[in-house]
């Protein structure tokens, strides 16, 4: 986003001082936010990364995390998109109630989500029993990992996507319909392309949240190890230096998509 320059009349010495103070504050926050990444890179040597990744089965947590996050992302996209659109267009009865339902998992600590999921989908619950008929168990399984990731990440997508859809002028959708498109075609040809930058950002954040999901995962999906769990277990068993390479791998895998999506989204917004 380009920030317009201040009007000339405001460029007094007082403004210069306050702008300078704001700049220092911004710099402190920026360095503090990047600090952990800098610390990680400072404490890693290429040999330690290579050595950690050469351990037998070192890539398995990565595979598990990527696959589970992709599936979680697919589920969230499939189920969350219609919800986000209907929320954005105010077409749901009792809209506040739906909003609360979406925001609640965001406000609930992930560990608590994990505990509550045991009571909801655990093997001894009606849903758990129904799942068992499908040969699925939401406890210490890959399926449980996907469930935990969905719960931790879904609010980020639905809220982001709803904001993206709400920013699309409804008159443009109406124009599409007036020109002969049905509702679905208008949605595909007008709504989605115009919401795409916002949807991309929402998806990127969701991907990062799914890849990094830990609290709920710790409770219901201890096994199979995904990357966050691998980091935790390695930290517990062999110490910080052994866990850091996995942290780097997690960042390398989880970050490029959000960064790419953010860059694309900024460029796409400028084109509109």
């Amino acid at each position: 986003m380009t920030i317009p320059p201040a009007p000339t009349a405001l460029r007094g010495s007082g403004v210069r001082v306050s702008t300078g103070a704001a700049l220092v504050g911004a710099l402190i926050i920026w360095v503090a936010l990047l600090g952990p990444l800098i610390a990680l890179l400072a404490h890693l040597t290429p040999s330690s990364v290579v050595s950690a990744l050469r351990q037998p089965g070192a890539f398995q947590p990565l595979e598990v995390s990527v696959l589970a996050s992709l599936i979680a992302l697919g589920v969230i996209l499939l189920l969350g998109t219609p919800l986000a659109y209907l929320m954005a267009r105010g077409r749901l009865p009792f809209p506040r109630l739906w909003e609360v339902g979406v925001i609640l998992p965001l406000l609930t600590p992930p560990l608590v989500i994990g505990l509550l999921l045991i009571f909801m989908v655990g093997p001894a619950t009606p849903i758990g029993e129904a799942l068992s008929h499908l040969h699925l168990t939401a406890s210490d399984t890959f399926f449980a990992l996907v469930v935990a990731e969905v719960y931790e990440a879904v609010p980020y997508y639905v809220l982001g996507a709803a904001a993206a859809f709400a920013a699309v002028d409804p008159e443009l959708e109406q124009a599409g319909a007036l020109l002969g498109d049905g509702r679905w075609r208008t949605w595909r040809r007008v709504t989605v392309p115009l919401a795409a930058p916002g949807l991309a950002t929402a998806l990127a954040v969701t991907w990062a949240r799914a890849m990094g999901a830990f609290g709920a995962v710790l409770i219901i999906a201890y096994h199979p190890f995904g990357l966050p769990m691998q980091i935790w277990v390695t930290l517990q068993e062999t110490g910080l230096s052994s866990a850091l390479p996995f942290a780097l791998v997690l960042l390398v895998v989880a970050l490029p998509l959000p960064v790419a999506a953010y860059i694309w989204s900024s460029r796409a917004r400028r084109r509109l």
């Binding site: 124009a175 319909a177 007036l178 020109l179 498109d181 392309p193 115009l194």
Partner: protein, 321 residues
């Protein structure tokens, strides 16, 4: 072609319309803001449901309030709608916008765009267009749908007057060439007369009078219609209300004959290149009115004005009150 006889309930009042359009006919709907003009067009375009009645286009029932409801979908009615907001898709180029309607022929669309002065803008994005260019694109795009009836909801009202009139003329020519009927909503009598074969006056949801654009001005049926088609002078004499259209006032220095309105100049102010002169009648005639003059007269100048150029409404209590 279009046969509409319906009612749409609004929060403030119901819009009741009964009108028929012949094939290729252009009708302007004239009325003040909030009269229900847009509701009328949106009902025809299928954007608002009817409370009662039905709308037919070439024997096809587009909308009906009778159960089971039988509304044909918005994009399949053969009705186009142009609004003040051209509604161009910002992620598409001008050419992609024009070719947006399903089944649009790119060759024909490009030719139409060139005819409408858009030939050099085909690869431009909508955000780089001026208001007039954007409306041209919107018009060209709508015409690619092959609509039988085009609804125009004051599409050029945000443009400057000369450009608005120029675009209106462009629309008129395009529609005439295609034999497409049209409904134009406007609150400018000048636009209505320049565009339409007939003018319908709408006020608070009711059609007060429908007629030939000039006849409507010369012979308004009620004082309310007279006020809506530009009458500005209201004089009372002998229990009757006399409406005076400023364009019809002819001043002569001699006060002569029976039925002549006499009076004097009581005020004036600039009005464009002309002078808006305020006249006060004398004698049996009671009231003041304004007229545009090309030259500024002297204050207190006496004048006479022939009453047969005024429109008479029986009863001083008019529907204006």
């Amino acid at each position: 072609m279009l046969a509409a006889d319906f009612e749409v309930e609004r929060r403030d009042f119901a819009v009741r319309i009964a009108i028929q359009l012949e094939g290729g006919e252009r009708v302007a709907v004239l009325g003040p803001s909030g009269a229900g003009k847009t509701t009328f067009l949106e009902a025809v375009a299928g954007l608002v449901p009817l409370t009662s009645g039905e709308i037919r286009l070439d024997q096809r029932r587009l909308s009906s309030a009778a159960r089971p409801r039988s509304d044909i979908g918005v994009g399949r009615r053969g009705v186009g709608l142009l609004r003040q907001n051209p509604g161009l898709f910002p992620h598409l180029t001008v050419l992609e916008n024009i070719c947006y309607p399903p089944g649009a022929n790119p060759g024909a669309a490009t030719a139409a765009a060139a005819r409408m002065g858009l030939g050099t803008l085909l690869q431009a994005r909508p955000r780089g267009l001026s208001g007039g260019e954007a409306q041209r694109v919107a018009l060209c795009r709508t015409l690619q749908t092959g609509v039988q009836l085009l609804c125009l909801d004051e599409p050029f009202s945000s443009l400057d007057r000369p450009l608005g009139l120029e675009l209106l003329e462009l629309v008129r020519q395009e529609l005439e060439g295609r034999g497409t009927g049209s409904l134009l909503v406007t609150h400018q009598l000048q636009d209505a007369q320049a565009f339409a074969d007939r003018v319908a006056v709408l006020y608070q949801g009711s059609l007060l009078q429908v007629g030939d654009p000039r006849e409507l001005v010369l012979r308004p049926k009620t004082a309310l219609v007279a006020s809506l088609v530009g009458y500005r002078g209201w004089l009372r004499r002998g229990g009757r209300l006399w409406a005076i259209h400023p364009d019809l006032v002819q001043i002569s220095s001699a006060v002569d004959g029976d039925g002549a309105i006499s009076g004097r100049v009581v005020g004036m102010r600039p009005d464009g290149a002309r002078i808006d002169v305020e006249l006060e009648s004398e004698g049996e005639w009671v009231g003041r009115f304004h007229c545009p003059f090309s030259e500024a007269p002297e204050l207190d100048l006496r004048f006479s004005f022939h009453a047969d150029l005024a429109t008479v409404f029986s009863g001083v209590e008019s529907d204006l009150d």
